[in-house]
Subunit: 791 residues, 2 copies
Amino acid sequence: MSKKGPLTPDALHKIDAYWRAANYLAAGQLYLLDNPLLRQPLRPEHLKPTPVGHWGTVPGQTFLYTHLNRVITKYDLNMIYVSGPGHGGSALVAQTYLEGTYSEIYPNVSQDEEGMRRLFRQFSFPGGIGSHCAPQTPGSINEGGELGYSLAHAFGAVMDNPTLIAACVVGDGEAETGPLATAWHSNKFLNPVTDGAVLPILHLNGYKISSPTLFARISHEEVEDFFKGCGWTPRFVEGEDPAQMHQKMAAALDWAIREIQRIQEGARSYGETERPRWPMIVFRSPKGWTGPRQVGRKKVEGTFRSHQLPIPADTAQQETLTQLEQWLRSYHPEELFDEAGAPAPFLRALSPQGERRMGANPHANGGLLLRELRTPDFARYAVDVPAPGAVEAEDTAELGRYVRDVLKLNQRARNFRIFAPDEIVSNKLDRVLDMGRRWDAELLPGDEALSPDGRILDGMLSEHMCQGWLEGYLLTGRHGFLNSYEAFIRIVDSMVSQHAKWLKVAGNLPWRQDIASLNYVLSSNVWQQDHNGFTHQDPGFLDHVANKKADVVRLYLPPDANCLLSVFDHCIQSRNYINVMITSKHPRPQWLTMDEAIKHCTHGIGIWQWASNDQGVEPDAVLACCGDTPTLETLAAVTILRKYLPEVRLRVVNVVDLMKLQPHTEHPHGLTDEDYDVLFTRDKPIIFAFHGYPSLIHELTYRRHNKNLHVRGYKEEGAITTPFDMRVLNNIDRFDLVIDTVKRLPQLGNRGAFLIQLMKDKLVEHKQYITAHGCDLPEIRDWKWNGGAGI
Amino acid sequence: MSKKGPLTPDALHKIDAYWRAANYLAAGQLYLLDNPLLRQPLRPEHLKPTPVGHWGTVPGQTFLYTHLNRVITKYDLNMIYVSGPGHGGSALVAQTYLEGTYSEIYPNVSQDEEGMRRLFRQFSFPGGIGSHCAPQTPGSINEGGELGYSLAHAFGAVMDNPTLIAACVVGDGEAETGPLATAWHSNKFLNPVTDGAVLPILHLNGYKISSPTLFARISHEEVEDFFKGCGWTPRFVEGEDPAQMHQKMAAALDWAIREIQRIQEGARSYGETERPRWPMIVFRSPKGWTGPRQVGRKKVEGTFRSHQLPIPADTAQQETLTQLEQWLRSYHPEELFDEAGAPAPFLRALSPQGERRMGANPHANGGLLLRELRTPDFARYAVDVPAPGAVEAEDTAELGRYVRDVLKLNQRARNFRIFAPDEIVSNKLDRVLDMGRRWDAELLPGDEALSPDGRILDGMLSEHMCQGWLEGYLLTGRHGFLNSYEAFIRIVDSMVSQHAKWLKVAGNLPWRQDIASLNYVLSSNVWQQDHNGFTHQDPGFLDHVANKKADVVRLYLPPDANCLLSVFDHCIQSRNYINVMITSKHPRPQWLTMDEAIKHCTHGIGIWQWASNDQGVEPDAVLACCGDTPTLETLAAVTILRKYLPEVRLRVVNVVDLMKLQPHTEHPHGLTDEDYDVLFTRDKPIIFAFHGYPSLIHELTYRRHNKNLHVRGYKEEGAITTPFDMRVLNNIDRFDLVIDTVKRLPQLGNRGAFLIQLMKDKLVEHKQYITAHGCDLPEIRDWKWNGGAGI
């Protein structure tokens, strides 16, 4: 075993032994309940009753991890391992067990025979660990369950981490997903001076669950052209003979690391500014490598049949048992583990030490590195509101001033970034552009606010990338938020679910440290459709997130700029949550002073006394509102009601923190039934104007006493039309709210009927006006809250 | 104006005039309320009060459309135009108006001065049309609101349409999205004999909303390598001088069409089997081409400032008005339109005729071409069920037999396909593999069921591609379904929303003909977690779809194979819906004979008398169930309850059609309150075991009388564990359902308390057993419905 290459025969022997040890530990996880070191002949009772799991990607990944260990030690690298292929978890578990980190985190799974027995038993066993990389896996920041996000996570991880290299193994199945396909272009947003490097390794093992993979079935030239076209310098490592492959991979990794170092040195020491063509590796190895070549009459190694268990689970068959034993013994565990069952000393000597071990790298447990964010006093950014509704402002534009200064305060720490799919300007956060938009591709005269060192990542029109990069950035211990149109954040529904699951599981692992929350500032919302229309209307992200574990999710709908500032400041300092903020970007009346806003947002829900006239008595009706537009229309409806029916006692309740509506037994923010009843009464009609789909309010409140609840919200109506007409089409406008309220107060008799008719007339007048003029009635456009005094 | 190239001076002049006419019509839409032909000097009152819209992509697209018209006529092509860039709708509206299709569909928008006035006025005007391509746009099968799906739609359109060419303009912003990035690889699934061709045109106009685009800022070599790597032969058309660009584009399109014809002829007449490198065009033109070069001191043409209105909307400024008038007159409308305001005769002569016009191509109004699907009698595929629960079967495997025969029956018509992200085998639909899996990349010995003419598109691990291809296939008048894991269909949440919106809008357009429904068969559902785990658990697609317009959505949860057959047969023959079927793939008890199943599925909901013991009286409790696993556990709970508490009158209600729960005023399938009360009683406790998140049931039923409703469903618990333990962790197991029921029947006193304690003991026993053995208790695994007789 001594082919040509950089490895000496001794080094080659050792590296192969290390790989065999990892493969043995991975295969053992699939099958063995007992007899972990095969010190007895294998018997049926040593096997799991129903072994389940995956083998296909595993030996390729143990191979890579072993070789990455070599270069970590050789070049003293700060490296993490991002495992893209699904169901490769056992490879990482085996490797981190071998290097010792697994036992440090899970002392019961010790480096001895008993520990190995537990290691094997827990895999795909009730209450144990699954076959993906997961929060439980040391060294992982990427869950292998849903595919497509490894490369984006790797890029997020190395941003602002100039010494870090993220080795990112991309499965060839995963490479077919959309998010992964566009992630190759992330290299245009990496600054070789201030960011680290991503070393992608496309693992061509040829098959998915049951089909071949595309990248394995196109020509060598096409693969090479593809990666050159994506701005990489690819190098191929292909074959199946282990000795040859060890030499090839060692040479390839030496090349890749030197290339990374050359690029970084060029940029850092010599000021080179040309966009680097970073190295990447195409690694073609047989699926299920070193596993059984054939089972029965079917070829297994190198085919899709090694995707899951290469040898079927039927342990009653002696033939099966014999083949399994032969396979496991082919790794020669007796050479690899000492008497106690610990890795042999020559293997221990081979692995990196301390935090250089990829399972122990603190970047992969980012909370360890998390520093508090510096924030200015947000109250200094207050909009001056002399009286409710007295001034107008654009909420996101006001927020932009504050965010710009957060960026500035943390410029030295380099631990806060903004991610957006080319929508910062459209969403009126453009004050942050002072801090530069990241761009490492070509610059041209006339470009605005582009910079290779910008803090704002809004140069790629991909919600998937924004989400993936931000997740990688947060999981490695930094801060940030995602700004997007409300409707199009649905593009990443599935990624958000997966992050929520990660947070839930990580929250139960004492060794995983707290990380900054995943924050969304969603603007250009459903009610603002000047030139977009039906496709840009979807408030359902709220519904989507509301279904997640209550420990994790928070939903905020600040009604004005001061409330937005207060909520945002809270969110970016929180930990382990998913915070959704739905915001307004258009000039809108401002309701609360900063002091009032802070108080209101701290409570999350409250009676707006200044708009109510139920002082000292139970109201006749409650007008509730949640979201900027519903709040505006509710207050407009109140002015009408109080003008025409001053005897009706109205209460206005505004909701900022949507989860206040859920029972406190369901969500930590939820109101008790007593507190809910105090606000909403037990039986008076509630006319609730809501930003999103009405069903969400019913879903959150179905356990409450007061069933006299009438919710208006978005009902998939309206396209190209005026702002007010959008509300009319969805019956959330002031006139409809008045009608809704009066209808529930039969005691008003003719006076009520009169007002209803008046409102209907107004609706007709509105329609006629917009049809003729293409814009809203002046009285709508110029409407102002009259301060209650003149009512 | 006579540069070198294939166009004669006269042809060049005419093609340029045609383009100018389209540009004029597009610019007019942005600004003009009146004076459409500029026959008077432009005055403020001729302008829209608040012009909104987009210009950036428009002139490039009018250019392409004009040139495509030329080759359609020259080569007598059957071609449709797929417009990828967002906000390019006015280009298509202008072009279809020019060619006459617009006025045929919308006679009020006639080809004369008054018609042109209406054409301009309706754009981005309340009640009018938006600035994307949309269902209202003649010739469109792709909505430009959410980006990323044009190429997948184009491929779906040409599948099984051997004479069709889909010219697909991909915006360079759109090209950065994940779904578009992976869609380039669709060419590995196209058969040059039996499918048509896609001609992609990457429109490099350099800018998104406010940032440059990546493809415009990487090197020429990288762009070329990228497309070669994706298996295309790219050709570049770059510049800004119109005359030169006309010649270049004419030459490029001549080349592309000849390449397509050469490839198709080679494959069709000479049996060439090598995968073709299809032609594609990279078209680099200035953003906002031919618009104002500069406004104020800012460069506009060729920059992001021409993305929306190139000249600001402030019509009070005389300077603005002058510049606008100069710009509009630069197209010389007086040369382009005749006295009446119709396109000049020489322009009319230039456009293709009849259905060759891209706005009139029937493939873009696919319902025109829709043929009924041939279906075998599904009852012939029935599972024989001698008594409820007497046999077990795998529901999807049974369905597979039927689907295989649907494929066979329609093999000649070539109008039915299956789309899946490599999950057909995993979801146990593998009987369909007889009909071949489509694969046009390299084939190797040992490949199974791969064929360049397969009917099953499951070779790409991308839910986005499956969804996009299927949408394109349906919108062009064919049939099919998507099979996926339940959890990962969330990846396309946003695409599903957009298709629902398309269906809603198209349903209101009399000229858009009915198309086949978009059908989902979702398996590997949340309750089946043998080797997957937490990441593979998400039943929220139901919640997502339930929020869409009731006219469009249908949700089915068949409890066994015969019900699945009945539901599936109904769905694939329906029109204009989104049908979601949640199915089981594991061996499960079968409940209903085919006759019973047909009856049950026709009603959508019903009392299972054979499981109930409330005959002739009002029940003490209703046990409702929806989904295969909840049904199983509910029936198991019933056996326990009836054994230990025979005096309790139980009613079992099974729900197949989830929308039955909504009021009939909300959904056409909804039960009336009277019918609902007949099933569920007005006040007896309902213990509802539901497949998904419990909140969905509350959301659907909150208006019903009976508030004594207790729903169990998935609550984000459980990872790697046994099937039964998944249920226990989410409290939907038989023991918890018994406890839930007894708790609501205080009249049972001690007998109830005794049973509750027994159930708690069983839960403890269960936990102990799985911890020790890694599998469920034998009594759980072997449980069988005892037919009611032995109860």
